[in-house]
Amino acid sequence: MNPTENKTSCDRELNDSLRVPLLALFGGAAVWLVVGLVLGLIAGIKFHAPEFLGGCPLMTYGRVAPAANDAILYGFCIPAALGVMLWILARLSRQPLALPLVPVVAANLWHLGVFIGTAGILLGASTGHTWLEYPRAASVILFAAFLLIAVSAAATFGWRSEKSLYPSHWFLFAALLWFPWIYSTANLLLNSNQVPRGVVQPIIGWWFANNLVFVWLALVGVGIAFYFLPKIAGRPLASSGYALFGFLTLTFFGTWCGIPQGAPVPAWLPTLSSVAAALTLVPLLAILIVTAKTVCGARVSCMGGSFCYIKFGMMSFIVSGILYVSAACPQYSRILDYTWFGAAQTQLQLLGFAAMILFGAIYELLPSVMGKPLPLPKFAKAHFFLTMIGVLLFVVPLVIAGVVQGEKLADPSIAFADANSAALKFLRVSTTGQLLVLLGAILFAANIFIMTIQWKLGIAKTVIAYLKSPLETLEVKP
């Protein structure tokens, strides 16, 4: 048999199996991204005009801001990452997606869960724990949906015909294990009827938030980047050894970060967390080395293409990691705790790192899954520049605002209102950045939706053509 022919037929089968699940995951994700960024923009505007939408209890800052963050993380980052993960696992297994209907159901369940969660927060049913605001009904749905997708992913892996493991496998697998564990722990302990007393709640909350926003996003983001960077650059991943070292140190050290230094908890907790944060520089360095060696000198002209997205994402990952580690350093945390610095790091992690890598991956894989090029390739390019500039304008002023605000708050001779207004100046620029990111997200959503509509029209045409075609007459053989 001709090997190339075999490969294309296998590719077609693989893409056919992934089309519906991925469209279901990405379509909803694009909607939630836009919703999250709009909510974020509303939250941002409230700092310039406190009375903006002030008469509406649904739109208080304390509801809109967590709803925005959760919509971006749970609504966009997680389902989009799961979609890309399914595609990578199927490709690496050289098999079509196993149980392709399961992720379709799961994707719809997931987006339903995010809808219930967002509505819950806006209506005041938030649990009050950061990154775990979604009420119980939403959490149960999200958990079930994740398990369904994990089953499909694991089955695809289990029935693989290519036996050897690739570095992306490690990261993506760990991510599949990570989320159900941390999400069930946090929800069973904090979102149940028997909640532990006192500061145990924020300790578990910090553990969960760190493992979700820092470790889980790092696992999927780096796993995805380690698949696409070598693929686009047309050369192997620079060093599997460093990649393995980065994976092990990230999972072993990174998971202990996250407890703020000044927290009102037994001192061993923040101390341990601070040591772990310093050690987390090791995986950051290892991942930086692998990325740089793979990318540098690659002859890819990418003006706003997927390569650019993923490179920018990896740079953001390193910077966001360094910000995270520095905030865990006791000297700095005294200044940086309770300022905008934390928000800046979170937004860089979510938008600069995770979302950028996911955009790049989706633009790269969607044409092959759909069997046709992107309907609006210029939008995809513009999206890159809008998001890059937007993220920089969003995050850099927030970092500066955090430092300025922190230093002023540390000096009791400066009135609180002055410390606050010093930060507000930077927030103006930040809000502009948010707007640019939102514009980019709309371009992204446009590409996804036009592609989905074209595909649906295509199906409709086939069906109509089939219905209109004259019935085949059976020739009765004598």
Partner: protein, 291 residues
């Protein structure tokens, strides 16, 4: 990492270790925490919130107040002070002379000016703070020397740090303070001031309600949005409501109308008034100001 099983084991061990450390261990260590005793007293701490304040915590949660307000006072250290309570048989002038004789001590070198200024023109009124902002050794030394000449003194502890200097509290917040909070809302950003002791700073329910309705009417520089939807504007009936807010003219309702807090607003105000962490504890000692 050749097989899926080895990846699974590595990830399982890594996450399992941190789960044991940051979930299991804190539950074992603190999950059974009970009330503690206030320092130099038999009172228990903290007290469980009752009535409207309990509901108010849920209003605080539902509106996400913790997005802008922290509930934690941080402390950088502690300073000691020595306060005279009785001069015994000594006359004030003799005591001043005695104090001046101590100025040759090398450890007091940094404090002589301050002591001299504070004693300048002192007529013998008690209690009198002799030494402030010092460390424990010097305070003990001073107290010992005073005791030797028959002068009674008290050594006090004052928490230090920017949060304390801003008047946000008299000591750092500790785990015990949050025992009955459900959920515990420490916050992560100070876009507004810390509220761990707002019930001490602003103990008037009417002030709290007015501040919720129109923050700028009490703090002109405030960036807090008003929570007008927690209030009802209604026509004054036969008798004005006793709950109606007493607002300055530019914030008040039109003539013939009054602004009355809804139950949610009252609950939230009750919760804010319940926010007090102002008693000395073993792990957070300080000397309360004399009443």
């Amino acid at each position: 990492m050749k097989t899926g099983v080895s990846v699974f084991i590595a990830a399982f061990v890594a996450l399992g270790a941190s789960w044991c450390g940051f979930v299991l261990a804190p539950v074992l260590q603190l999950g059974g925490a009970k009330q503690t005793v206030v320092l130099q007293s038999t009172d228990n701490w903290p007290l469980q919130r009752i009535g409207e304040a309990t509901l108010g915590l849920q209003v605080y949660r539902a509106y996400g107040c913790a997005a802008c307000h922290s509930e934690q006072v941080r402390q950088t250290g502690a300073a000691f002070e020595v306060t005279l309570t009785s001069l015994g048989v000594q006359k004030p002038s003799d005591f001043v002379d005695f104090t001046k004789s101590l100025f040759v001590l090398p450890e007091l070198a940094d404090y002589t000016n301050a002591i001299a200024t504070s004693l300048n023109g002192w007529k013998g009124g008690l209690p009198k703070t002799l030494l402030t902002c010092t460390d424990k050794d010097i305070a003990t030394e001073m107290a010992d020397r005073l005791k030797a000449v028959g002068v009674k003194s008290e050594t006090g502890i004052i928490a230090t740090g920017a949060d304390i200097a801003r008047g946000w509290g008299s000591r750092l917040s500790v785990a015990a303070d949050y025992l009955y909070d459900q959920p515990v809302q420490l916050g992560s950003l100070r876009a507004g001031p810390d509220l761990a002791n707002i019930g001490v700073r602003a103990p008037d329910a009417n002030w709290q309600l007015q501040h919720l309705y129109a923050p700028k009417s009490v703090t002109p520089t405030s960036t807090m949005p008003s929570f007008k939807f927690l209030f009802e504007v209604r026509k004054i009936g036969a008798t004005p409501s006793p709950d109606a807010l007493n607002l300055p003219k530019e914030f008040a309702a039109a003539d013939g109308y009054e602004i009355v807090p809804k139950p949610e607003a009252k609950q939230l105000a009750a919760y804010l008034l319940s926010l007090k962490a102002n008693v000395p504890l073993y792990e957070a000692p300080f000397t309360p100001a004399a009443k």
